[in-house]
């Protein structure tokens, strides 16, 4: 029995970052998504200073110019809007505001909602009852009414808009988290942690949260789209972001009336939203697998095969 020495072919475990990177390489869709998002992020940072002037330069004669006119400069490839401003440039400039509102609102609502959900699921019935009824209240408060009230009283600004959208999205995270906590806290490993003397905080954040997180990330990525579109609806009603500020949502709402005549006005910003959502979602699906030790082989195997 010469084989008795080692039962595994052990290679040194690579560092976390390297491993994640390798797993990212293994999933081509996620890789494209990550690259796209990185690209969007860069655009968001440099967009306004780079193309700010071009995006606001009006030219009524060139209004609603058709897309795919390769003769003109690249900013015109997507056509022009009702004031003859190049759509591509506008999309690029709008990225910053859009991401700020969407990421801000999603991050805020997800954080607050998740936190409250964890607390509600894990604490006394009284606290639970209070938090949950609060969630009911928010949930049945039509978001538009919140918007009108907050923006009327506090004035319309990117920050307030973000706040409004964040408030309305809290209940989903809250309720999802709580429902999951109710089940997960009954699991044995949570009890094992309690036996070790882990504080509630530790149990919630170290043991329960990682199990809930994938679902929440999925929700959050989809909420990104929701928030961008909701913002568009608010703009349309005159209580969201208003020109000359631009966001993708506002561009969509401005292009709305041209849908049957000049489809590109709302199509491109819509596509930007779709692509961003899709990339985020692909990435979150990848993350769900990459962070789950039981599922991780899917990525690790592929990496090996490909490499």
């Amino acid at each position: 029995m010469t084989l008795q020495t080692a039962d595994t072919v052990v290679t040194e475990e690579p560092r976390f970052a390297t491993r994640m990177f390798r797993m990212l390489l293994a999933d081509k869709f996620a890789l494209c998504a990550a690259i796209f998002l990185l690209f969007v992020l860069i655009i968001a940072i440099i967009g306004p200073t780079w193309l700010g002037d071009l995006a606001t330069k009006q030219n009524l004669r060139g209004r609603n110019a058709v897309p795919f006119d390769w003769e003109r400069g690249w900013v015109w490839w997507m056509g022009a809007d009702a004031l003859g401003r190049p759509l591509l440039a506008r999309i690029i400039v709008a990225t910053q505001n859009t991401l700020m509102v969407a990421a801000g609102a999603v991050a805020l609502s997800a954080t607050v909602g998740t936190f409250l959900g964890l607390v509600a699921g894990f604490s006394s019935p009284r606290v639970n009852q209070i938090i949950m009824r609060l969630a009911d209240v928010i949930m049945s408060f039509p978001s538009l009414l919140i918007a009108v009230i907050v923006l009327y009283i506090l004035g319309s600004s990117i920050l307030n808009l973000m706040l409004v959208l964040a408030i309305t999205r809290i209940p989903v995270y809250l309720r999802t988290t709580r429902a999951e906590v109710l089940e997960i806290r009954e699991r044995m490993f949570v009890q094992a942690a309690r036996v070790m003397g882990a504080s509630s905080k530790r149990i919630l954040f170290r043991h329960i949260l990682p199990v809930v997180l994938p679902t929440l990330t999925t929700l959050a990525t989809l909420d990104f789209a929701y928030v961008m579109l909701a913002e568009s609806a608010l703009s349309f009603l005159g209580i969201g972001i208003q020109p000359p500020e631009i966001t993708w949502g506002l561009m969509i709402s401005q292009g709305r009336q041209y849908l049957t005549n000049a489809w590109w006005l709302s199509f491109w910003p819509g596509l930007a939203i779709i692509l961003t959502t899709m990339s985020l979602n692909l990435l979150s699906n990848w993350l769900r697998i990459a962070l789950d030790p039981v599922q991780r082989w899917r990525l690790e195997m592929k990496g090996r095969k490909n490499g």
Binding site: R133, D136, S140, F141, S143, L145, T176, L182, G270, N281
Partner: protein
Amino acid sequence: MLKFVRKRAVASLISLVGLLVMVFFLSRLTGDPAALFLPVEASAEMKAQFRELHGLNDPMLVQFGRYVGDVVTGDFGESLRKARPALDVVLEAFTWTLWLAVITMTLVAGAAIVVGSLAAFRAGGFFDRLSSLISLVGASVPDFWIAIVAIVVFSVNLAWLPTSGTGSLLHWILPISVLFIRPFGIIVQVVRGSMIGALSSAYVKTARAKGVKSGPIIFVHALRNAMLPVITVIGDQAASLLNGAVIVETIFGFPGVGKLMIDSILQRDFNVVLAAILVTALAIFLMNLLIDLAYALLDPRIRH
């Protein structure tokens, strides 16, 4: 169980009252309905008289007291715009919304659960990729696109369906289809995610060892375990439908509560706003109660 429901009812009542109080005061901070009801040329006396007539001149607390008094006797006041009981206006609209929401959510839940589960079963496979693509596009497309394009295609060009309105059963097809898309996209993704975890559990192995077919393994064994986040999200989506599907109502001329609420808010028709919130909140509270009961029903471990 009964005790649970009773406790819940009391707590809900308290929060409902809180909600109404909040809306009552907050909405009154958003401006004067007289200016909106009357044309801009109306004289100051006319506006004053309008306010007098509708009791808007009294201090806020007096107005509130009066409102509470009326509500206790079941009177939710008159609509400023429509000169008829606010509750009637709301209930009329809410019936439509309720139907729309119930039918849509039933279809959505059914379809999304099936599609999401199948996608999770062969995660990374062709069906998974395809359904993910469709659901994600669905979840992030502006709904008025779909609505207008659907009208152009199915009503104007193909002449299969009426453009809008409420007469026959055919009238429901387009609005429901448009409403279907976004929740479908979202729920598919949630189902998929949750199911991937459930399908890799040990009890699924047991089922396979028993020789159970893939169908029941997915839809009986794994699904029920994966349902907690799914019904939560279904609830969330249903709530936003119950609060009114503004775009669809506006475009398809569906007399639902969503447009009513927006119009009333923009017109500061407070009584209608309050009644509408009361009715939709009740529906949403009730739905959340059902969802919480469903949690316990689905998972015996969280029954207390």
